[in-house]
């Protein structure tokens, strides 16, 4: 189980309307990793995420999950995806905490099927894990931002996925809730879940993750967060330079 590649990004390039968004990216995320996927806004990290999720196809290179090319994957329930909060749901959508977590189980039960006892147990366990079982019958928009984000973690946990991918999960959440949220992720990682967290906020996640990939069109850095922080001042200089050059165009 350990040290099995979970996500393999192999020489991937992607252009959109003639703009190179990603250039020759290669990454290998192993089982048990807790990776921060970082980079400036517009640097291509969301695009890379969408390529990994199979929502976009690369122009060059290929992406594999669990050792299989994306187009051969039948069982997508091994992956739990938590989209950005802003794109999660319409604020007025009438849905309870429980109903959202059932969605995490929906693909697993199969088309035309109904939830059975084991499904309900998994949903209940997932809600207990994020300490929200007492809130199960609340409407999602009655919860705070931090609680809502934990609901979506529970939804991903209900599918019993090995890999959690989170896109900017703490945007708009107060700092105490953020701390609790990262504690939960660390706990899940310690229990063996592979986690990929996409964020633009280096200071928030650099001391949480075990590996860090910095993407700005190319893979600028890939390694431990400690090394990255050491190099960070250099990076800032480099960025200032490139801004200066850009002004001429």
């Amino acid at each position: 189980m350990k040290n099995e590649p979970i996500i393999t990004v192999d020489n991937v390039s992607f252009s959109y309307n003639g703009n190179h968004v990603l250039d020759n990216i290669s990454l290998k995320i192993m089982s048990g990793d807790y990776l921060g996927l970082m980079g400036p806004n517009g640097g291509g990290k969301t695009t890379l995420l969408r390529l990994i999720l199979g929502l976009l196809d690369p122009n060059f290179g290929r992406v594999s999950l669990f050792g299989k090319p994306l187009n051969q994957i039948k069982n997508w329930t091994r992956l739990g995806y938590v989209p950005q909060k802003a794109t999660q749901f319409e604020n007025k959508f009438p849905i309870t905490v429980w109903e959202i977590v059932t969605l995490g189980r929906t693909a697993k039960k199969g088309l035309f099927g109904k939830f059975n006892k084991a499904d309900r147990k998994a949903i209940e366990d997932a809600l207990s894990k994020v300490n929200l079982l007492p809130y199960k019958n609340k409407l999602i928009n009655e919860l705070s931002g931090g609680q809502q984000q934990r609901v979506f973690i529970a939804k991903a946990l209900a599918s019993e996925s090995e890999l959690l991918i989170l896109d900017e999960p703490t945007v708009g959440i107060d700092s105490q809730s953020q701390e609790d949220f990262y504690k939960l992720l660390t706990q899940l990682n310690n229990e063996g879940k592979t986690i990929v967290i996409v964020s633009h906020d280096i200071s928030a996640i650099a001391n949480k993750v075990t590996k860090l990939a910095y993407i700005n069109k190319t893979l600028v850095y890939y390694g431990t967060p400690k090394q990255f922080i050491k190099k960070e001042h250099l990076q800032k200089l480099y960025k200032k330079d490139s801004k200066f050059i850009n002004h001429r165009y």
Binding site: W76, L103, A107, K109, L111, L139
Partner: protein, 268 residues
């Protein structure tokens, strides 16, 4: 027995109305919550072209309406998912295209205006046994499909992209949903009329959303509101000699008003 039930046409209207009062808000729940409320309205204008074709060709118009609206619904959905054009533009193009086709066909064959009017505004006195069979069987089929695909339909309404990532066949389910919408629209025109069917798919759902505490209760309340609107509407229209379609929609708006007040009080 009430006088109203001495007329077999009223009994047929109540049977057809009950089915429509259930399926219109049932399908509407999955459309309204995903911001797709105008789908029903566009498809009803397209169905009008189907009616005109049926009247012109001497085919039972509900069949042609179902055929034309189902095919159009599938094309609209295809265009939307391929992102060739945005969803609302696709809806608008088909709405006006359907209406234009209908108007051309009507002008080609002067003389069936009366028949056409009964589809535009609904005409409960003209519900025939064959209508009951079509409405009953397709209505039942719609309920069965929603029952078995409930969780998946909820998922794609809630977050299409997350559903896609989890491996749910989103495109196929979206197609199922728009086909069910097209069928519901076509079946409902005898009772509420094409111009108002969108209202019966939307207003009971919005009314339910004011007071419901979950998605499943939204769905059940909306069906209850739809049924009350149709049944009460048929009674009122019969005794006050009003047009049934308008009366039904006016009652559903009244129910919305009541539930909005209750909803506001709850949140205050």
């Amino acid at each position: 027995m009430l006088e109203i039930f001495q007329y077999s046409f009223m009994i047929r209207a109540f049977i057809a109305g009950t089915v429509i009062g259930i399926i219109a808000p049932l399908i509407g729940s999955f459309l309204v919550t995903r911001g797709y409320a105008l789908m029903a309205d566009s498809l009803s204008h397209i169905a009008l072209a189907g009616i005109a074709i049926g009247l012109l060709a001497g085919i039972y118009p509900i069949y042609t309406a179902i055929l034309v609206s189902v095919i159009s619904a599938v094309i609209i959905e295809y265009l939307r998912t391929r992102r060739r054009i945005s969803g609302d533009i696709a809806l608008a193009m088909f709405l006006y295209g359907g209406l234009a086709t209908a108007i051309i066909l009507i002008s080609l064959a002067r003389g069936f205006n009366v028949g056409l009017f009964s589809y535009l505004f609904g005409s409960i006195t003209t519900v025939r046994s064959v209508d009951l069979w079509v409405i009953g069987s397709l209505g039942l089929a719609t309920i069965v499909v929603v029952y078995f695909l409930y969780d998946e339909l909820l998922y794609i309404s809630f977050n299409e992209e997350a559903a896609r990532v989890s491996g749910i066949p989103v495109n196929a389910l979206n197609t199922v949903l728009v086909v069910l919408t097209a069928i519901t629209v076509s079946l409902s025109m005898r009772i509420v009329g094409l111009l108002l069917i969108g209202a019966l798919m939307v207003i009971p759902v919005v009314a339910a959303m004011q007071v419901a505490k979950s998605f499943i209760t939204t769905l059940l309340y909306s069906v209850a509101f739809g049924l009350v609107s149709v049944i009460l509407g048929l009674f009122v229209s019969y005794y006050l000699n009003l047009a049934a379609g308008g009366t039904i929609v006016a009652i559903s708006l009244g129910l919305f008003g009541i539930s909005a007040v209750i909803g506001l009080k709850k949140h205050a």
